[in-house]
């Protein structure tokens, strides 16, 4: 084995090492004076020394900026930290290097890589340990060494088939619960009993793999048990207020069905929701969360989160091409003291850096622009950070509906190899995190390789266009168990698990079946197309393997003999079966057999108790104040409001050439945009607007109003840039605490009801959604931290003509500023109260969807007619923040008079602090700040007859934000405050 160290030449500097040094300082270790880093390569095989030198010189080291060293260099006085991938963890760099070395005509058996850091300064062993574990290495996938380490060539352990039965028929309640717990099944007693009954009726014990598959299919993650439950909503006395059978069916699904939009082409039954784009094309949208993995391993968790959601539209209809990503994150306070971070949780800043890098590296490599997002901060996200990743995709209309495989179709496993990574991800994400999860569930984190997924995407689209497969789905949570299980729901399947390509030997049949290894898709391919489709994949170095076929062969569900297994395909009897069956084989031994009806319909629908019954509590009256400059600066700098340019610039938001409205806008291209607009079809002037709405601070106080706010904000944002409300659909993503607790469940029910009401009133259907429950963190001292009720609403809207799009930055001095929509007096949950250090009540400003939808429709008409020069939605921080953002984004000034601001009928007087503050900073929904050229004002105003619409200011060239005598700020000062928070 040859060891090669590659490092930057002294005179070129080492930006990565400098970045690490800065982060070491952030950890509070001042002793480190300098950091040097080196890349390590280990070449195994019959290479001569000369070969190794040639590889190092021509391939591994850059001749201009780098030097290499063969062997382990002398560290001198420096303290060494080496980080090596654990055996079995996929190493894409090593794989690429292997291929390149062979291209050079040199025979290499295997390559491994590592990283080396040399720290100078008086660093103690303890500090070095901290730096290694907190900063440099991820214990889940990497090993740390404090000297030069050369890894032994990895030995793979072969697997010897051992069929395992799990006795369940004779267990009592306690035994069933113990089995669920010890097996990480995360099933409750009722569910365990249903399984027990099934196997009693079958007259046999379940195989381990059968139990795993049931647990995965019935997991909260895959089964959405809470949302499908029958709810008993009670008041605090315990009296029943309302019964809601099958919560989701009667709220979110129900609204979509009732709205029955003809342009909704594929909703709620596929991996993404799909709407019509034009006569030829359709667009799909899906948003997923990847919270639990990101809590444990932010980089890997977030990157596989984006990788996973990208596969959703790829596996929708007959496959779609992603054209835009969105991301929304929730983190704990990034300024938190390291000592305040609960044991088992990572520091929020580390989580944020890791998550941002993970999304960046995966999304950028996939070549999908990240166009829209948001970040929220709250202390309670410290143990449960939230990572929402979304993907919008385009596909031919003729290929966009949900498909089913035909009996006899080959099951094709395409893409990444299967390893032990990600085992139990689906069930894991259904439980609560504890301080021990960091170690216990490390295997639940998957490791991603974006290039593998890009290759899969490239080739699948070719196969789709040639019409070679009948059905496709992604292999995500639950792995093959989930993808084959779902596809074969109606007709069954036979799978030979020994045929699944593995990253390394030693996996049991059960592990192969449930592994959540990344970048895999499952296809159903008619036999006559198998040869052709395999060629398409082989042509671009994509691994594709036939692992079985759909349809059961008609044999009676037999009882596998315990332990020994039973011969498979050769011994089939030809009895008719009443229900489709899934059969799993390993080396022709039947290792599992499941009745698909039981698997998919046997889950008992739970009944859940919910309570939401709180007293109204008003927020305190704002104190008297003459000047609000400081308040505005504070709100602009608040982490939820502050510029996220540090994140946005790391994402490629223009790849694919469809960018129309970018995430940053304005004269210096650094102001906040409302929604993003892209062209999914090059050459067409139709576009797609994407935006989101969310406010966890409202969620705490009033889940119903909070959900209305989220929908209203998402819709405002797409309308503000030029979207068509009549062709807008929304997605829901609920992240909640433990819904077995009636108060959490009560909040969930209230939010779901609001989603239904909002969908009906705005006439905007939900087309897809996802929930992540049990976001609670058990600290080592037994405390529970539950996240705020967090509902993300993502909107997708067709833009009929992208050349009419509008941005939020102020355009020209002399133009008139209008405020649309009513301002209400309530201040609950507002940034104003936070900035002033005042306790909030639960008086979230109520939303009036019936009126707001009229304002939005009129706004849309105005934009389509070309009457609007600028449009900014009012959200966090209200009018003052929106006006400041428009002003500094445009490099101009604004002058506003509060007297003209349209208000609700009951509103405190302008001369009272309450009235003034509500107008300046109130966060009522349904409002837009609009810039109109004077000559178009009359036409514009006509569109708003009968609606709240008033000219209350104008754009100036003074470079000042002036609101009566209450605010007078230089735009540069306001911008500096807004940009300073995340100037990382």
């Amino acid at each position: 084995m040859h060891r090669v160290e590659v490092r930057t030449k002294e005179r070129f500097g080492d930006p990565h090492a400098e970045g690490i040094l800065a982060q070491i300082r952030e950890l509070g270790v001042e002793a480190v004076r300098a950091v040097r880093s080196a890349r390590l390569f280990f070449l195994a095989g019959d290479l001569s020394d000369a070969d190794a030198r040639r590889v190092a010189r021509e391939l591994l080291a850059d001749p201009v900026t780098e030097v290499f060293f063969i062997g382990a260099s002398d560290e001198g006085d420096a303290r060494v930290i080496e980080v090596h991938l654990q055996p079995g963890v996929m190493d894409p760099v090593a794989a690429s290097a292997e291929g390149a070395i062979r291209d050079m005509g040199i025979d290499v058996r295997a390559v491994r890589t590592g990283r080396r850091y040399e720290l100078t300064g008086e660093v103690t062993d303890e500090q070095r340990q901290t730096i290694a574990t907190k900063l440099l290495a991820n214990a889940v996938i990497e090993n740390v060494f404090f000297e030069a380490h050369t890894p032994p060539e990895s030995q793979s352990h072969s697997y010897k088939l051992k069929v395992v039965d799990v006795p369940i028929r004779d267990l009592d309640d306690a035994g069933l619960e113990k089995l669920s717990r010890d097996g990480d099944l995360f099933l409750n007693l009722t569910e365990m009993k249903a399984i027990q009954d099934h196997y009693r009726a079958q007259g046999r014990e379940p195989r381990d793999v059968e139990l795993e598959m049931i647990a995965q299919t019935w997991s909260e993650h895959c089964g959405h048990k809470t949302f499908r439950s029958d709810v008993r909503l009670k008041n605090r006395q315990g009296n029943l207020v309302e019964e809601i059978p099958n919560l989701i069916k009667n709220t979110i699904f129900g609204a979509t069905r009732e709205l029955n939009k003809s342009w909704c082409l594929n909703v709620f039954e596929d991996n993404a929701g799909v709407i019509e784009f034009d006569d030829e094309w359709a667009v799909g949208f899906k948003v997923e969360t990847h919270n639990h993995p990101s809590a444990i391993e932010p980089y890997g968790g977030a990157s596989t989160g984006i990788g996973g959601v990208v596969r959703d539209p790829m596996g929708t209809g007959l496959g779609a091409k992603p054209f835009a990503n969105t991301d929304v994150f929730c983190f704990g306070d990034v300024t938190m003291d390291l000592s305040d971070v609960p044991a088992g949780a990572l520091h929020p800043k580390r989580v944020m850096r890791g998550v941002v890098s993970g999304v960046r590296d995966y999304g950028n490599r996939m070549g999908i622009p990240t166009v829209n997002g948001a970040v929220y901060f709250d202390d309670r996200y410290v143990g449960n950070p939230l990572v929402f990743c979304g993907t919008a995709a385009v596909m031919p209309k003729s290929k966009c509906t949900k498909q089913r495989p035909n009996p006899g179709d080959a099951i094709l496993c395409v893409g990444g190899r299967t390893g032990r990574d990600g085992i139990h991800g689906a069930t894991f994400s259904s439980g609560e995190l504890t301080h021990q999860h960091e170690t216990e569930f490390s295997h639940a984190v998957q490791i991603g390789n974006a290039i593998t997924e890009k290759k899969v995407l490239d080739t699948i689209l070719q196969a789709r266009d040639e019409g070679l497969f009948s059905c496709i789905t992604d292999c995500g949570a639950g792995g093959l168990s989930s993808s084959v299980g779902e596809m074969g729901e109606k007709i069954g399947a036979e799978v030979h698990l020994d045929r699944v390509p593995l990253k390394y030997a030693g996996l049991s049949y059960s592990e192969i079946w449930i592994s959540e290894a990344q970048e895999r898709m499952t296809l159903a391919v008619p036999r006559e197309n198998v040869e052709r489709i395999l060629k398409i994949f082989a042509d671009e170095n994509v691994e594709a393997t036939v692992i079985g076929h759909f349809g059961s062969t008609g044999e009676a569900p037999a009882k596998p003999e315990a332990g020994s297994g039973r011969q498979g395909a050769g011994n089939n009897s030809q009895n008719e079966t009443s229900s489709p069956v899934l059969r799993l084989f390993y080396n022709n031994t039947l290792v599992g057999e499941l009745d698909m009806e039981f698997l998919h319909d046997g889950l008992p629908r739970p009944t859940k108790d919910a309570v939401w019954d709180v007293d109204a509590k008003a927020s305190p009256a704002p104190p008297k104040k003459d000047n609000y400059n400081e308040t505005l600066l504070k709100i602009l700098a608040a982490p939820n409001v502050a510029s996220k340019e540090w994140i946005i610039r790391q994402y490629d938001h223009e790849v694919q050439g469809g960018s129309v409205v970018k995430p940053l806008v304005g004269a210096a291209e650094d102001g906040p945009g409302d929604g993003a607009v892209s062209r999914p079809v090059l050459g067409s002037n139709r576009g797609v607007a994407l935006a989101c709405g969310m406010n966890p601070h409202f969620g705490d106080l009033d889940p119903y109003q909070s959900a209305l706010h989220a929908v209203d904000e998402a819709l405002r944002n797409v309308v503000a840039v030029g979207g068509d409300l009549e062709r807008t659909a929304v997605l829901d993503n609920f992240c909640w605490g433990n819904c077995n607790k009636p108060d959490r469940m009560g909040a969930l029910v209230r939010a779901a009801l609001a989603c239904r009401d909002a969908a009906m009133t705005y006439s905007v259907p939900f087309i897809s959604g996802k929930d992540s429950l049990n976001n609670e963190f058990q600290t080592s001292d037994g405390q529970t931290i539950a996240i705020p009720y967090t509902l993300l609403i993502s909107a997708i809207s067709v833009v009929p003509d992208v050349t009419r799009c509008v941005t939020s930055d102020a355009k020209k001095a002399g133009n008139l500023l209008y405020l649309l929509g009513e301002t209400r007096p309530e201040l609950g949950g507002s940034h104003y109260l936070r900035a002033e250090g005042l306790q909030t009540g639960n008086d979230v400003p109520p939303v009036n969807p019936a009126v707001n939808v009229k304002t939005m429709r009129a706004m849309q008409k105005a934009i389509f007619a070309g009457l609007v020069r600028g449009c900014h939605d009012l959200s966090e921080g209200g009018l003052a923040v929106a006006a400041a953002e428009s002003a500094f984004a445009g490099g101009l000034g604004v002058e506003i008079s509060l007297a003209n601001v349209p208000t609700a009928a009951e509103f405190p007087g302008d001369d009272t602090p309450a009235g003034r503050v509500a107008k300046l900073f109130g966060e009522s929904a349904g409002r837009f700040l609009v810039e109109i050229e004077p000559e178009k004002a009359a036409t514009f105003e006509k569109l708003f007859a009968g609606l709240a619409c008033a000219q209350m200011g104008k754009v100036t060239d003074t470079g000042r934000i002036v609101i009566d005598k209450f605010i007078d700020l230089e735009i540069n000062d306001a911008k500096a405050a807004w940009q300073g928070t995340f100037d990382w």
Binding site: G13, P15, H16, E58, L59, L60, D62, P63, V64, T65, P92, V93, S96, A97, G99, A100, D103, M104, G105, R360, N364, R365, M366, G367, N449, A450, I451, K454, K455, D539, E540, N541, I648, R649, Q650, Y651, D652, E654, V655, G657, G658, S659, V660, V661, K662, L664, V665, G666, A667, E669, L682, G683, V802, T803, C805, V806, T807, D809, K811, G890
Partner: protein, 259 residues
Amino acid sequence: MNIKALVLRAAGTNCDVETAWALEQAGFEAQRVHVNRLMETPSRLADFQFLVVPGGFSFGDDVAAGKILANQMLHRLSEPLNDFVEAGKLILGICNGFQVLIKSGLLPWGRVEAATAGCDATLGWNDCGQFVDRWVHLRCDSGTCVFLPQGETIALPIAHGEGKFVPRDEAVLSRLRGGDQIALRYCDESGRPGGQTNPNGSVDDIAGLCDPTGRILGLMPHPERFVEITHHPQWTRRSVPRADGKIFFQRAFEHLRRQ
């Protein structure tokens, strides 16, 4: 006769579709061809007049950006590529494609040769240490380069992590200057290079480089991302007279048409 452009793709290439589209808008017949196909039948390259290596993350930027694809060119495609150059045809490398051209030797000296490839110049990590997406102004300096209107200042977006141009030494830089090979430099709106306008720390603000003949151009910015007015980040603010990225493809087309 149609003028044919080959858009070379590999695992991880991700700007090939819009690059092909931009080429078609300029009049080319554009074909996206996987490097595996070209390695199977290297003679196919001779059917084309224009080779474009588009942006992306070929092979995930593993080892170094563009390195693995460059290695394939060096060891599997050197002959047809050198023939292509000698035939007076055009080559354009955008972003990752620029990295590939540098690491395969096509830039700066116009020859694919394993012993010397990458020895005189490289594209290293941005000074800020991370990926950056933003718009920049560029001054078209070279009169030799067939793709560029000399003397004009244009706007294009960049999106890269490894775009810092570094020549081996002052002698190389002088030779590049002397040969009129410094095609594009980061500058401000009025065309003044230097200072804050340099997004990655490139030596001498170099954003793009051509070979001594001017027929091979590599650049970090993305011309294919500014072929519509609505691509410009300020098109909603003011009238944008021209989509600057189009010029590259139009001039290449005109050059080949004249021949």
